[in-house]
Symmetry: C3
Subunit: 340 residues, 3 copies
């Protein structure tokens, strides 16, 4: 694509050669002559002098400190968003062109498969399922009976979906993820052994959800575990039975949420955090990384620490702890002065 | 099933219509007319006025505050246990009726498969294995050579069991779980690279163990990694080589146990806790969530905190930390008074 | 093998019967008559009197406290390394003799498979891949298009490798691991929903890397996520997009490393630790278990604690916290004395 075409696509202004050919997008540190890159964060301006990219998307106010005749500039309002738009455009051609039902998969009786569905090699789909149009199911995934999957979903390889789970439209599920495994529920018997409580509920995943690799979402004991519209879950997350996660909440890798907890809308939860069972987190709560949440949170805000506390409170406590040694010395001084 | 039948099954007394038809069990918040629910925890009594359930299991002493003519009560000694009994009964009909050996699986030579075994599509079973009667192996699971699996086990889809591992009777293993992968053992060489130590031991899983999804249990370097009778492991747990877990111990999701550690009987370990290698945890120890255990524990009790301590000690320490700011102010006061 | 043969192999000296037959290696606690074991750590000397092993590898300076006529000693310079050498020797015969391309796998067009490759049942390999000689790919693994895998690799069962990833020589990847899943990148839209940022980079894994079970390594947004030569990753580790891990670094189970972070060479990271995104850890850093690292580290050394600090500093802080109660009492005393 010529730079001029890109300029039109992004409504930008070119400084330099408008005819250079751009074959792809790249990081400023590693882009090559026929790639375009961008500078948004001022920290990356230092690469301006060194980059081998053929063109750079910069902001309208970007100041060139050392002129380079071998690079064309493309000035736009927001270089980062423009770059993402371009990234998408270049990615269009790279998306897997997979289609058709493999001869090597197994689809059981009474299962409806809509138009333009891809089912890869060694996929198993049980009885009485529905697979919506334009959905892709990659190799070696296993879908039990009575599962409903909507339109335009991508289920990557080696995914397991247990019976009766419901997946909406435009859902992406990465490899190794398990949807609908039994919740962890047992009753202690008089001989100290544990008896399994049947887990007869299901998992419901609404539209536009993305779920990372090797994540687990357990089915409900009764009723449902629900992941609402637009939720984004990273890799290796554990969602226990009967959990509810509100719309557009984003959860980073390795977070664990225990049974029956309800998370609000638009929350953000940092990696490795843990949330105990049977509590409520209200809308718009931000939880840091490696935070332990053991009580309900009913006020939006940022919470951090080994035992979750409002950010300011937690930071002040940390300062006090860091200064403990000084405090000990002050007390020692006072004791000495007093004993004189 | 008519309510009268349920009353006989649970040895309960009906107040209301004994002939209403009950098709299933439900949560009090979401149950519908042909479902039965229960009240055990007083916190749920508030739902009594609103529930749409047709019948409610309550205790003999339950007091009706606002009479409802549209609901039948079933009085029993222990509503929770009665409900679980009923849950099991309704679940019986819902258990997967899977049987037979799929035409699309691969079972290698010299492997014995007992009566009434289910082997799903695209399952691989290696040479010289034994699969006990009534065991079910779901689609896409992979079992290497010389593996022994007992009777009445359920191995869900996409499970990997490495060679020579031994699984007892009535064991349930959920999807994505890996049994018998190599322990993490290396020797540092003089050039700073690491050389692999062969892991030639195995994993032994005793009877009545349940293992959640995407959990890993590594094979021993020498000897065995052993999970004793009745142990329940949740999802995404990491059990390193040569670990021993005693009978009826229950471990929540995302716990990690490092190599050669021995856990006693009837312990309970909360989610995301980590236990270092080469230590012993005695019987009847309760470890909270996100606890770091770096030393052996030789007294039963409850242990919590970033560095595991007895619960009382840890809570007192937390109070001291929360009051640090006050302590700082006291010292400042003393300093001022003293300097006058 | 006769003990005499082992003595020659290890350049050791026999005390006792040089003709006893040794069929394998064992742990000192559980070894049987035809096995050889070792004593390196003095803590294990207590087992000398009880072991049922037929022979024990000991150091040249090992002192026999209670003579046993039923056991032969083999004296060497370093019992542990000698034992490992022997372990390897005995393991040679036990390594899986797998070869050939299964009739039940699927290899797509334009994929080159070199000599002596093993491809197990129900493996899928996409278009335009290259699989190096002597590499083994176990059952049910799924490899997308344009993946390059070097020579002498072992890819265990149920592994997923996304398109365009590059794997070097002598790489071992355990079951359930996912290489090349999308990085977790989204842009917040004005309606609070999140839009996916295409992840068009790849993952590069260099030679001699071992990766445990159920670990995830995300592909880069642009460019690559790189795991350098000799790195050893344990189970259930999360490596986010664009992370770089330097040569011979060793990472224990359940560690999470967020996006774009760079880890140096020869680092060691303890289990369950978390490292935030966009920071640098220099060479030769040791991070304990369950440590939270939120800032770059530019000095080699040992770092521990919920918020990573140099070990000594962290330990002193812990002592201060443990003594907080005493400090409170001292302040109380001072207040009382002062108020008199």
């Amino acid at each position: 694509m010529e730079l001029e075409e890109i300029a039109i696509f992004l409504s930008g202004k070119i400084e330099g050669d408008k005819n250079i050919n751009i074959a792809g997008v790249g990081k400023i540190e590693s882009a090559v002559k026929n790639e375009i890159t961008f500078i948004s964060n001022p920290l990356y301006e230092k690469f301006f002098g060194e980059t081998n990219a053929g063109a750079i998307i910069v902001s309208n106010s970007f100041e060139v400190k050392e002129k380079r005749n071998d690079i064309s500039l493309l000035r736009v309002d927001d270089p980062y968003l423009s770059f993402l738009k371009l990234l998408e455009k270049f990615n269009e051609g790279k998306v897997d062109q997979l289609s058709g039902i493999s001869d090597n998969c197994f689809i059981d009786t009474d299962t409806e498969v809509s138009n333009n569905v891809y089912v890869g090699n060694f996929v198993t789909i049980g009885k009485n399922c529905k697979i919506g149009s334009n959905t892709k199911i990659y190799a070696n995934s296993s879908i039990e009976s009575k599962v409903v999957i909507g339109n335009s979903c991508i289920i990557y390889s080696n995914v397991s979906i247990y019976k009766e789970c419901v997946i909406g439209n435009n859902v992406i599920i990465h490899s190794g993820t398990v949807i609908g495994s039994d919740g962890f529920g047992f009753v202690k018997q008089s001989d100290n052994s544990f008896k399994k409580i049947p887990q007869i509920g299901k998992v419901v995943i609404e539209d536009n959800v993305e779920i990372g690799a090797n994540t687990c979402i357990d089915r409900a004991t009764l009723g449902e575990t629900r992941i609402c519209k637009g939720v984004k879950l990273d890799n290796q997350i554990q969602i226990a039975h009967n959990v509810f996660i509100g719309e557009d909440t984003v959860i980073a890798a390795q977070v664990g949420i225990a049974g029956s907890t309800k998370i609000g809308k638009r929350c953000m939860i940092g990696g490795q955090s843990g949330i105990v069972g049977h509590i409520n987190i209200c809308d718009d709560v931000i939880i840091g990384a490696s935070v332990g949440v053991s009580k309900s949170i009913d006020k939006p805000g940022i919470y951090i620490g080994y035992r979750a506390r409002p950010q300011r409170e937690s930071l002040l406590m940390d300062i006090s702890i860091r200064n403990l040694n000084k405090l000990e010395n002050k007390v020692k001084d006072l004791e000495q002065k007093f004993s004189k």
